[in-house]
Amino acid sequence: MKYQKEVDSFMYDVIQHNPGESIFHQAVYEVAETIIPFIIENPKYQGKKIMERIAEPERVILFKIGWKDDKGEVQVNRGFRIEMNSCLGPYKGGLRFHSSVTLDSLKFLAFEQVFKNSLTTLSLGGGKGGSDFSPIGKTDDEIMRFCYAFMSEIYKYIGADTDIPAGDIGVGGREIGYLFGQYKKLTNQFTGVLTGKGLEWGGSLLRPEATGFGVVYFMKQMLETRGLSLKGKRVAVSGFGNVSWGAVTKATEMGAKVITISGPDGYIYDPDGISGEKIDYMLEMRFKNTDKVKDFADKYGVEYIPNKKPWEVEADIALPCAIQNELLKDDAEDIIRNNYICVAEGANMPCTSEAVHLFQKAKLLYSPGKASNAGGVAVSGIEMVQNASHYPYKKEEVDERLKGIMSTIHSNCIKYGKDDTGYIDYLKGANIAGFVKVADAMLDQGIV
């Protein structure tokens, strides 16, 4: 790689400065690979230590959370909030409650969030937080007490214009409700300090659908760069969670035919297309909590292929919407062999770097999740706007704004990702577009 020496030298300092944080190292390295060459070739950013500054959190808050379980026993957990970068706006990023949460994993997620939020074009800085508390097996009361204890520590550092946490793994509508309730008690303020709130008390319409809808809006624009439309295209989707449900709904509505969804147990192949009540049934499967996509095949008499991924079917578009690193090199080879036109990531980082390199080599339309799945964070930003103005938008208004944001992200990817042959490298485009906005703001604000 060109400038490998410079990337290595930068990374050496990052590793020395953040010992033992291997997950964070990897995240920084992946960005540095694209950005350091860009900095070297653009004098405006040279000699300013921009990457060194972006890789350093502005503030890390680490705190003890003491709470009592239902038996009256004292429990102690650790809470974190990584306030990574606020050059573009207040820190924004989810709270994760999971036993795997460490400072390292949250720094990785916070670092990613800075670039992802920057891409949305909204005024959002980047952050992440959470706790090593695991909600598994806890009663409602225990979860409420934990959320209250968590908020009692963190409320001093967050606010509608300072730091606005959202939900993430282990933090859904119920937890956001408890956290918000305690914030309100402590501060006597009803503000947009959290997003992902209930619809009746400050939440935004279209939030559950936003990520999936956004992926489809983005993918439609990708096709248009080659003079193609979505109408009649066969779409292979993985997952049957929120993102894939939104993507299936919108793709079908826009005239495409979704022929697969998948679950942890395998995938289903429905050549007639998943539409109407079949889409509603995807939601029902989630509520039933069986986590088996086979249920769908049993109900509608379609083919069920156990223990396999959907990328082996012939289709035009792939939407990986399930899990990190689900689409490997072999799957990418299947996709290329089956003449797919486009791969748009709905999940976060579902394609491995080997798979991405193959797509780029084959000149396939490929977009990274940080661009194509930004619809979720975009609607969180729209929720903040609604809260600040105390005026809720209609569904159509949110949808229009979401479309506009996805369109701007697409244009920015083209601006920085199009090469001399006309090929659009969306990964490079997204990385640079995200970086430029943050870097320019940092330069304008002095040494921050």
């Binding site: 290595d8 033992g20 190292h25 036993s99 282990g170 986590d291 223990n307 399930a322 980082m349």
Partner: protein, 85 residues
């Protein structure tokens, strides 16, 4: 050895080095030190993740972990739309 604070963790000879002592003091000076390729180092480091019953990251307590065909065995999962408890 206090591995994290030692320069050995960034040295290309670390795996085969016969000089590394087994005290708890970190090594801060070494005439044989040579910087390892950082890319190689990062890849190696992320493989040494903490395992709980063979699972890492979010999979540690996901109820689908035993039969999940979505994940690849060698990667640590931090993002998943199908995570279930």
């Amino acid at each position: 050895m206090n591995y994290n604070n030692s320069i050995c963790s960034s040295c290309r000879h670390e795996a085969s080095c016969t000089f590394i002592n087994h005290s708890n003091e970190p090594i801060l000076m070494c005439e044989e030190f040579e910087l390892e390729s950082v890319a190689k180092k990062i890849i190696a480091e992320t493989r040494v993740m903490e395992h709980v019953n063979g699972y890492t990251g979010l999979c540690i307590n996901c109820e689908n972990r035993e039969f999940c065909k979505l994940r690849s065995a060698e990667s640590v999962i931090w993002h998943c739309e199908e995570y279930a408890v």
